[in-house]
Symmetry: C2
Subunit: 476 residues, 2 copies
């Protein structure tokens, strides 16, 4: 098993990898990427899995306008402060200057809650919810394929509740939906907890997040769920008549994940040869490579490949034959390893004679020569499940092995340089001292775990008393 | 059967219907609508059907940036002339004025073909294709829910070919995919043909379209497929090395349908009571209504409704119980008729005793009392198929009954006022005379049918000789 700890230096560059594997390309628009079919197919698989889970929670999809009147954004003070600097603004349309500029949505709380105020009347309407699959735009200074792009695709869910308790429960429920998606579909083992006040979503009471440890030792915030409280409800006057016929403000939540998840998959599982895709999000789960030297072998081998392809497809496996005769089998191996296809199926004239094939696992590079031709589809399905679970275990182990206690700033800096990962440190809870951690080490407080035990300690910056540790790391 | 010809006056107003049925709502942004869950669920069903058909043609999905540099739009002269007046323009972002304004995509030919020029190298890369599901923005002067909104959702497919013949074949193949979708899923019977030069897509050699006759006698262009020729290929330098090692320009096609299809469904099938949704795009195919007076009947009836619901769902039917006890069964009937649910299942205490239910067809209002409880799911599935086909036949008959020959401008005007529909007229082929038809009658040339027979005649405007008729009508 390839569970060995890789040092940050060994890993390949994300952009280079995403480009070479055909997931994405740079576009002529600053910070915007093109998601190519192979990358988009991963997104479609994620969407399908997540959309079903969201619907199973009773949330329905809807669609709200791309444009938000500038005045809407300003209604919630913290929100506008957080997002205004990142906004793209439409000032002209239809050949004329607009009376009020329109912001291209960086997120849709304001426009959705404006509509909520029209739709919600009574306690009978609650809980009220919508989910939206959409593109959003945030004018970031530094961009990076999949991890931080000016435009990205995401889903954003929004719910309204009669009580704070129900909103809290919902925010955590959706966080758990994301956790289930990441663990069981993306084969990642994020830490889950609460953000500090300075890292809260602009306008939220509380922000929860999922933090994934990548192969390079850096951390990625891969999804968030916010308990928004009543701030937006007040700004947009979302009131409901309660059972006592009094008007009350609703309690809101919002939650989202984006194409950043593709970045989490790439950097969470790759090795020096390229991508390693978890089977459940692999657009191609098995690549069939015909191997022959003489022209007279070709037809027989290709014919068998077609039969195998049909069998695999019938068994629900996403399979494909690479029959390109312009390149050698060796070049094909490299190409499909780069693209992270979980299983390679090789078949040559001798395999045909012996009624076997050779299987190669992408994650461990293990060769399974002489795999019986009979029952091949079932064998591959088993192997896909094994790979899925091995990748999860690998990420979990990687995370656990790289989570450690640190009790001074010097030690934190040293460990971050050496191996990255999650440092468990004591912090007094003061935002000023939180920012000093970042200044001194380039690492930030990622989350306080929900199940973090109480422990007496001293803040590594201020020396003041602290009741529990938080997770610190260098993040993308 | 409700196949009777309805006069334009009898039909309800689209916006009013879309709002009351909960499909959409007005937004605070000029010309932009909110697609509410019930409307969006129709879109998801259309997407699922069409996406599979597009993939079956070998086209893969991808995603390109929302923003297009203004200079790109200007590279193809006809294209910029057609779209510039409708563009929304981002001039500021990240708190600064942009060096080059960015246009919010009104369609993506320019940005996609810029990428094609990077990706296409050799004849081996051809045909090359991508499809994109996305939002687009066109700053229209007059907007109308679903039919013409500032922002709308659509798919746009783009293909590159080695020869004009292959591009022509592809443009027509995708037109036929849309025809199949409309006939077999949306239960609509559009006419299919070629647009005149003045109605061509800006930058295309030829535009083909599908034209649906709505219940109000007006016509809706419901989808288009363009053979773009080599104009864009030249502007964006999309060249490939042919088998003789010479550089050649590719031949392009593009094709799209949008949320306008929901408008076609609404206005193509509605009656005075509201929507009539074809079963294949109905988010709810069967609504189960419990009927009881006394409290002691309630549990028994509701319990049976739950059993029926489970049976229907197991049979693949999208079903729902309306158990709301705040409103009467009569009010529920009205509500679900307004929403166009194909089949209503009513069940009361006497039905329970007799082991039957009452079914009501939305399209014909036919009541099927005493439908045996046993085999109910199969009966409903059969009925759904019957309704699907009856709605198609009704639209086809409506179209055929309202297609007629007209030989003078006066007659055209009179017929348009009386009944709308498709007038078959002779036209000399001159754009100047084409625009006079519109000035005189508010009707436009919709298409020349592919299979339009040759017939000697005289242009109804110029009196000049014409070799065949074209279809004229008043369109949205």
């Amino acid at each position: 098993m390839n569970n060995q700890v890789t040092s940050p230096k060994e890993t390949v560059d994300l952009s280079d990898l995403a480009l070479r594997a055909g997931l994405a390309d740079y576009s002529p628009v600053r910070g915007c990427m093109v998601i190519r079919p192979y990358g988009y197919a991963i997104w479609e698989l994620i969407q399908k899995e997540l959309d079903q889970r969201i619907k199973d929670c009773g949330h329905e999809n809807a669609y709200f306008p791309l444009f938000i009147p500038e005045s809407f954004l300003k209604k919630e003070a913290e929100h506008v402060e957080g997002f205004a600097p990142e906004c793209a603004v439409v000032t002209h349309a239809g050949g004329q200057k607009l009376e009020e500029p329109l912001v291209v949505r960086p997120t849709s709380e304001t426009i959705i809650y404006h509509m909520f105020s029209k739709w919600i009347r009574s306690w009978r309407d609650l809980p009220y919810s919508v989910n939206q699959w959409a593109n959003v735009v945030r004018w970031e200074m530094r961009t990076r394929l999949f991890l931080r792009t000016t435009e990205f695709l995401w889903q954003e869910g929004h719910t309204a509740h009669a009580t704070a308790e129900e909103a809290e429960t919902e925010a955590k429920r959706m966080l758990n939906v994301y956790l289930d998606l990441m663990q069981n579909v993306l084969a990642l083992a994020p830490y889950v907890g609460q953000k500090t006040d300075s890292e809260r979503f602009a306008g939220a009471d509380r922000t929860y997040s999922l933090e994934v440890l990548l192969r390079d030792g850096k951390i990625l915030q891969a999804g968030t769920s916010h308990h928004l409280g009543q701030g937006f409800a007040e700004a947009f006057e979302i009131k409901f008549q309660n059972k006592a016929n009094e008007l009350e403000l609703v309690h809101l939540t919002s939650w989202g994940v984006s194409t950043r998840l593709i970045g989490a998959i790439i950097l969470g599982h790759q090795d020096e040869k390229g991508l390693i895709l978890p089977p459940r999000v692999a657009p191609i789960q098995a690549i069939i490579i015909p191997i022959y030297k003489k022209e007279e072998e070709k037809d027989k081998v290709l014919n068998e490949c077609q039969i195998i392809l049909r069998e695999l497809k019938e068994a629900g496996i996403r399979a494909k034959i690479d029959a390109n005769d312009q390149i050698t089998p060796g070049a094909k191996f490299n190409e499909w390893e780069l693209k992270g296809v979980p299983i390679r199926v090789q078949i040559g004239p001798r395999d045909l004679d012996n009624n076997v094939v050779e299987l190669v696992r992408r994650d461990t590079q293990t060769k399974l020569s002489g795999t019986p031709r009979q029952g091949l589809a079932a064998r591959i399905n088993d192997l896909l499940a094994e790979i899925q679970s091995a990748l999860y275990e690998r990420n979990l182990k990687w995370r656990n092995e790289n989570t450690y206690e640190v009790n001074s700033l010097e030690e934190l800096n040293k460990k971050m340089d050496e191996k990255g990962g999650f440092a468990r440190v004591h912090w007094c809870g003061d935002s000023e001292h939180e920012s000093k951690i970042k200044e001194a080490t380039k690492a930030t407080i990622r989350v306080r775990l929900f199940d973090e035990p109480n422990e007496e300690g001293k803040c590594i910056i201020s020396g003041k008393p602290s009741q529990s540790r938080v997770l610190v790391g260098r993040a993308y």
